[in-house]
Amino acid sequence: MKNNMKTIGVIVPVHKFDDNLRKTFTRAIESVPDEEYIKLFVVGPVEVVKECAGLEGAKQGKVNYIVNRGETDFISQVLLAVNECKTDFFSILEADDEYKKIWFKNVQEHIESLVDVSIFLPLTEVYDLSSEKEIPVGFANEIALSPSYSKEDAIGYLTVDGLMTYSDFNLTGAVIKTSDFIDCGGLKKSIPLAFWFEFLLRMIYNGKKAYVIPKMGYKHGLNRADSLMLAYKDIPKEEAQKYFNIAKQEYFFKKERERKN
């Protein structure tokens, strides 16, 4: 490991052990490159963690298991693991997703040259998992690379104006600076569904930078039968909109504004 390389903690939240997790878990953790600067964490309830630890796989010896004895919703699991990982950066890997082989090499290059960026988002390949076959349905995060979204001299950077018109960025697979995540208050459990959007907005309002690296970094599955995110699908449209409106409320950014004044 080069001296200037930043450590990255890969966090895999697991909440329920079933056939699906049995099928995908090994594939997910095997997609994490075998590099000294990467530390792998699996966080979940004790019984799920035990089952995962019993699965076969070359990477098993490298996994740090974090037992979560508290709430097992996505945000609680992530917050617990972020506090435990003690790495310069962290990234969340869903147990049924995969990193692309080239991702972390590109992340390190960008961390080295774009030192003021707090969040590096990947170009994500999205697959529909609702049928037996994995059907590619497109990209995620690509919009930030379009000149119609970003300012011409800042292609790839997320902006408040941009977020107000497009909010659907995918943060799984993204590499986030741990200290900035903690300083800005992490993810808010009080804003279900729109928590990533609210987090991005809050980070950028606080002067942090988020940049989409124009390289394929992550393979994300949609509509997995037991996905935690699927629960949000049942939220009525009006209620979903309410969460996004809450996320935009000024309350969250008041502290920053006071600091500026």
């Binding site: 590109n106 040259s113 379009s146 000149p147 292609i155 790839g156 124009p214 390289k215």
Partner: protein
């Protein structure tokens, strides 16, 4: 047209000296040799004011002048502005080139050149070749594009009509063309230089931007629109048309973008693709009518460029390259070939050619010519004196 500094050094008239014409000529020849020895002559370069529009061919001339100046020779850039301000190249080229001494021949009406001087005229200025045919200096054509040369020279006229016997060429294509069509015109090659400080590798990772550099702006639309029609899933891929930019901004854009698409079928040298390659960009290029030396290898064309011949190929080519680039799947062999291009057409190459062509060539030969004339004249005068004594 008259340059005051040059005027001061002009020989005095026949009557003032009250000497015989042959003696005057003898003195002039001696003065010319002396000037050549002491580097007191001037190399004039006739240039056009492109009014802020960047031009690789024009920069080639400025670079030549700059290197001569660096070697300790006097240079002067001549231009002809009938009203309106001279804009020059300061807006888009490095300051050191714009700072070379300039003179507007329109204001000065007469440029008083001495026999030791040199006047270099770009290929398209056949009118200047004609107007200057009785000047005592050595005149040389800077020949960069046979298409343009044949377009501008009047029918029934050749450089010999204008008493020009020498040309500087920028590629061996031009050299071959001249040898074939104007065999009495002596050619010498000065390879253009691409600034390695300007066109260098990026310090930051590149962005997914496809840069289009097309001589005809409509060609960009001919490529971009079908690409987005055929690959709507890639409609977010940024593309820019790089035209009329300063060298610095242009180099930045080439360095920043992943892919450069170049179309200029009449280009004789192809500055843009080589500049792009020197920044490490992947280059897609439409085959020009003629391939410059650097584009050719022993086995055909360089593999550093992805060539195409039909605009219909472009959507698939861009889509494949974009996809491969996003996945870090560009073959290493391509990058290796691109890296090789970084070593071509350096400033050192151009300097070496200039020393060979100008210092060891034109300047030395001119002096030898004068020395030969001087020897003949001295002999003649000696014979005359002997005859008179007898």
């Amino acid at each position: 047209m008259a340059n005051n500094e040059v005027n001061k050094e002009m020989p005095t008239s026949l009557e003032e000296k009250k000497t015989t014409p042959k003696e005057v000529v003898l003195e002039r020849v001696k003065a010319a040799i002396d000037k050549l020895d002491k580097k007191e002559f001037t190399v004039y370069f006739y240039v056009i004011d492109t009014k802020g529009v960047p031009s690789g061919s024009l920069l080639y001339i400025y670079k030549m002048a700059y290197e001569l100046k660096e070697l300790g020779y006097n240079v002067m850039m001549l231009h002809n502005e009938r009203g309106g301000d001279f804009i020059g190249i300061g807006e888009w080229a490095e300051k050191k080139y714009a700072d070379l001494p300039h003179a507007n021949i329109e204001n000065q009406k007469k440029v008083a050149v001495s026999p030791a001087d040199f006047l270099l005229i770009p290929d398209i200025y056949t009118e200047i070749m004609s107007q200057t045919k009785n000047l005592p200096c050595k005149r040389i054509i800077i020949f960069q594009n046979d298409e343009y040369f044949t377009r501008f020279i009047p029918l029934g006229v050749s450089p010999y009509t204008y008493k020009i016997t020498d040309a500087i060429v920028n590629t061996s294509n031009s050299q071959a063309w001249i040898e074939k069509n104007l065999s009495r015109l002596k050619t010498r090659l000065v390879r253009p230089a691409i600034s390695s400080t300007m066109f260098r590798k990026p310090e930051k990772p590149r962005q997914l931007i496809v840069n289009f550099v097309c001589k005809d702006g409509n060609d960009t639309s001919r490529m971009v629109k079908p690409f987005f029609w055929k690959y709507p899933e890639l409609k977010w891929v940024a593309h820019t048309q790089l035209n009329g930019l300063s060298q610095e901004v242009f180099a930045d854009a080439l360095r920043n973008g992943a892919i450069t698409v170049w179309v200029d079928e009449e280009a004789s040298f192809g500055y843009t693709p080589l500049e792009a390659l020197k920044t490490g960009s992947i280059v897609i290029a439409k085959m020009p009518k003629k391939f410059a030396d650097w584009m050719k290898t022993e086995n055909g064309l360089t593999d550093a460029i992805i060539w195409f011949d039909d605009f219909a190929e472009i959507p698939d080519l861009i889509a494949e390259l974009v996809s491969r680039w996003m996945n870090d799947d560009i073959p290493q062999e391509l990058y290796d070939e691109i890296d090789k291009m970084g070593k071509l057409h350096t400033r050192e190459d151009m300097k070496a050619d200039i020393e060979k062509v100008f210092v060891e060539g034109f300047f030395k030969e001119r002096k030898e010519d004068f020395e030969s004339v001087l020897a003949d004249l001295e002999k003649e005068l000696e014979n005359k004196e002997t005859t008179n004594e007898e």
